[in-house]
Symmetry: C2
Subunit: 214 residues, 2 copies
């Protein structure tokens, strides 16, 4: 925080902080609910403010556009999910690394199945993804700020597996992760077929060991 | 064609058939161009008719809705692509089957890369896919009539590979094909990363032989 001529910044009083946190969460919830109900194009700052029970100016004080509000709302949703599965002493976003790559990937992908089937996440995510397909700028932000950082967690896990000899050294992790992440994403996004724990387990086994005879 | 009480159906005079074929193609071209330019929601039968230079009634005589026109326009686009790569004496839609599974899959996926990067195909496809994400009914038709039939061609090729011993007998072809099809689809649809011949070649190698050491 920049210092003002009046002196160093003051920490907000506990009541103010609590009120701000409550407003912030109400705004995230309202933004996610609205985009799920009416789509990205018809979601407005006014609509979010009304639903959250805050003034429009409260939103404009913290965010520049509805796109910014929504991206942060999704990031926050991801943080909440990460907190629920965090392991003590580790980065809450890092993938588990027990030394058993197949088991670790299945654990994470099963949790992703749960998340994708949770309506709180599913409906707004689908609306944002749809907007990203036709609106290149929103799509790029969505990929750069939400999707790619989560894919990099798989890159890290696969690199660790390469050091442990569980993945061939010539394999490119950024491509390899797509063998199990993209099929799940496509089934969910385009509703081409159901998703389940058994399905993601199968993807991991095929990706690790290949479909050709060994 | 059903017989009418007036007698057996007559073949249209050659001039009429040629005129119909020309109108049909003009309507497909107009529908694809419009949905690419203004999106699915703002594409109308009136707009397609005006752009194709035909009367609205011409369209309503052949199709029930704009969704029907668009689906057939995409099917026609796929038929044109299949005709260009057809092998004599074989179903033009079937995947090549030379006995070398990796080579056959790479050939088809490289052709798919070309198609996905062709603006005539890319822009309307993206618009239709985006609509399918949020409009469940359009999405289901898109998947059932366009996407799933093309995926079944991979199922057929993988079953043939299983009979030839090139794919393990316990592998489920409908899931296995997603290891190379879905990554390409996601990169293209969500613009997560570039697509190229080298990329799809890598996907095929990883899917066939796995990323774990052999």
């Amino acid at each position: 925080m920049a210092q003002t001529p009046a002196g160093p910044p003051r920490k907000p009083a506990p009541d103010t902080a609590r009120r701000s946190e409550k407003s912030r969460r109400a705004i995230y919830d309202a933004a996610l609910a609205l985009v799920g109900e009416v789509g990205y194009a018809r979601t407005t700052i006014e609509g979010i403010a009304a639903r959250a029970g805050v003034g429009k100016q409260t939103i404009y004080r913290w965010w520049g556009s509805k796109g910014d509000v929504l991206l942060e709302a999704f990031l926050d949703l991801g943080d909440q999910a990460a907190d629920r599965t965090a392991q003590p002493g580790r980065d809450p976003h890092a993938l588990p690394d027990t030394g058993d790559l197949a088991a670790d990937l299945k654990l994470v992908l099963r949790a992703t199945v749960d998340e994708l089937l949770d309506p709180r996440f599913e409906v707004p995510s689908r609306a944002l993804a749809a907007e990203g397909l036709v609106n290149e700028q929103i799509g790029k932000e969505f990929v750069a700020k939400l999707l790619e950082p989560s894919l990099q967690l798989y890159v890290d896990r696969l690199r660790s597996a390469q050091r442990a000899g569980a993945v061939r050294p010539d394999v490119e992790p950024r491509i390899a992760l797509e063998l199990f992440v993209s099929p799940l994403a496509q089934r969910w996004l385009q509703r081409t077929a159901p998703i389940s724990y058994a399905y993601v387990d199968t993807l991991v086994d095929y990706a690790l060991y290949g479909i050709a005879p060994r």
